[in-house]
């Protein structure tokens, strides 16, 4: 049974989003910067999409929405813009967490080389960064706090509204990478005190190559590349019109159905979690309650995750071993290390992420397949202790 359970890596394009996009591959091809009516029609449609996105996250207006190529670009632009705004006022300290997505972490590494001071806060062992930890790291010269809404590997939900309130009180910009959260958790940029927010279309059944950067009114974004005046001078280059339209349609659909859909996905998730925790010497990584509805990050002692993933793939189950961007490297995930997953478990980690199109039959299939394969791999593991046997642990 083909079972796609890697929805944190990407999701299937929704039928509604696809339908909304199709005309823009076809007769609606004019350039939105052209002054003829064909072009102006496209411009109007983009602005409608902007209003749709603004409404979905409770932005005060579409003017606060910039369309980008995806979550990575949005994260880069948000962090760099806030850093430069801080530097103009002599503030060059940035606070973030050690388990952000690389789009944030690597941008911070670059800024560090340019003279910024970066403090990375470790999450607690449950995979959550308490607001107090952020609060106590704030200094006179702090320009930006960037904390993800939900972690991409372990799915843990961060107290962003509280962190936002702390930042707002101290007059520090607050960015959140909401790439994994959008469509699954409520987003209200006003109520949650968010200044900058990143979204990626393909994580909520929109198209790849589409993203959003929300910047609260009055926050000047710096361009990452130079060119024309598109997106109010914030993002040059002719707009990816079908992607923008598709993103807005997908976000609207996800947000409208968020309660029922999240509840259904959560039920599937909890079924799979309890099924898999019945396997001996298994641990769930990250807080069991405060986690994304679809996220299961689970480690099995004494086996290698790659073998498990490839054997599951062989019977039609697509899952991941951490973040998809990392699959070519054999380094253990920085996220699992940051929450202290023990060495004998860390390599035997699966990330199963369920979504809108998964079924109860698929959940059962995942449980029975993983159970069988874990036991098979353990039967000839060089480090897993079988009954009554002492395994020598290699140094």
């Amino acid at each position: 049974m083909f079972t796609y359970a890697d929805n944190a890596a990407t999701t299937k394009l929704s039928e509604n989003a696809k339908k909304a996009m199709l005309p823009y591959f076809d007769e609606l091809y004019a350039n939105p910067s052209s002054i003829h009516s064909a072009g102006q029609k496209i411009k109007d449609d983009i602005n409608k999409a902007r209003e749709t996105v603004a409404e979905a996250i409770n932005a005060s207006s579409g003017r606060e929405i910039t369309f980008t190529s995806g979550g990575t670009e949005s994260d880069n632009q948000a962090v760099i813009s806030a850093a430069l705004l801080g530097a103009e006022r002599g503030k060059k300290h940035i606070i973030s967490t050690s388990f952000e997505h690389h789009a944030v972490l690597h941008t911070l590494t670059k800024l560090k080389k340019q003279g910024f001071d970066v403090t990375l806060i470790d999450p607690d062992l449950n995979g959550i960064v308490p607001a107090e930890k952020i609060s106590s790291a704030i200094r006179e010269d702090t320009a930006l706090v960037s904390v993800m809404y939900a972690n991409n590997e372990i799915g843990t939900i961060q107290p962003i509204a509280e962190i936002g309130a702390v930042c707002r009180e101290k007059g520090i910009l607050f960015h959140t990478d909401a790439v994994q959260a959008a469509g699954h958790l409520p987003i209200d940029v006003q109520q949650q005190n968010i200044d900058l927010l990143s979204l990626s279309g393909h994580k909520f059944h929109g198209p790849k190559g589409s993203g959003v950067l929300y910047a609260r009114k009055g926050i000047a974004l710096s361009r990452l590349i130079e060119g024309g005046g598109q997106e109010k001078n914030r993002r040059p280059g002719t707009e990816n019109v079908p992607a923008i339209i598709g993103l807005a349609a997908a976000l609207k659909e996800s947000v409208e159905n968020i309660d029922t859909e999240s509840e259904q996905i959560r039920r599937l998730r909890d079924k799979v979690i309890s099924g898999l925790l019945a396997i001996p010497d298994t641990r769930l990584n990250g807080d069991p309650e405060h986690r994304l509805p679809g996220n299961i990050n689970i480690s099995f002692e004494g086996i290698d995750g790659e073998s498990l993933i490839l054997l599951l793939d062989n019977i039609g189950i697509s899952v991941s071993n951490g973040s998809a961007c990392n699959s070519s490297s054999s380094q253990p995930s920085h996220v699992l290390r940051s929450i202290g997953v023990p060495q004998e478990y860390i390599r035997g980690t699966l990330r199963i992420t369920l979504g809108r199109y998964n079924t109860f039959e698929q959940a059962d299939y995942i449980i029975s397949s993983v159970t069988k394969i874990v036991s098979y791999l353990r039967s000839f593991s060089s480090v897993f202790k079988k009954d009554g046997e002492e395994k020598l642990h290699a140094v």
Binding site: D304, S307, L310, S328, S330, F380, S382, A394
Partner: protein, 144 residues
């Protein structure tokens, strides 16, 4: 695909998994810190390997390599098996490994060397220590 068909075939249908009872030589190589731990077992009769098995903590490259090598050394003399471990034939026979997984194949060859060395040591047989270049030879270092 990360792996070619030959590797996937051995990975999906491995041979000789598990410990060999009353084995005459055991070689263990690797570390849980950098990923793979291979334990390779040989049974020897009159200088000839009669059976072999393996236990592994590792990915497809490790399992496929161990499956191939434990099969290839059956019926071979210890010195021929040692030559095989040092020859690079494993890489050729399995059609080449992705660079990031080459270490796993090297570990398996080193586990065979270690098993033969263990047999020699157990039986008081002399050898040239340079035939046993065991160590994390291709590894670019653990970052732990």
């Amino acid at each position: 695909m990360l792996y070619n068909d030959q590797i996937m075939e051995h990975f999906l249908h491995p041979k000789n998994m598990g410990a060999v009872r009353n084995s005459d030589g055991i070689g263990e190589v690797g570390s849980v810190h950098c990923g793979d731990v291979i334990r390779l077992f040989i049974k020897v009769d009159s200088g000839i390997i009669t059976s072999s098995g393996f236990e592994v903590f590792g990915g497809a490259a490790a399992i496929a390599s161990a499956s191939y090598l434990t099969e290839a050394i059956k019926g071979k003399t210890l010195s021929d098996a040692l030559l095989l471990a040092n020859s690079g034939e494993l890489d050729k026979a399995l059609g080449g490994f992705p660079a990031s997984r080459l270490k796993s194949a090297v570990f398996v060859c080193e586990a065979l060397q270690a098993a033969i060395k263990n047999y020699y040591d157990n039986n008081g047989i002399g050898y040239d220590p340079f035939d046993f270049a065991i160590g994390c030879s291709l590894c670019d270092g653990c970052d732990f």
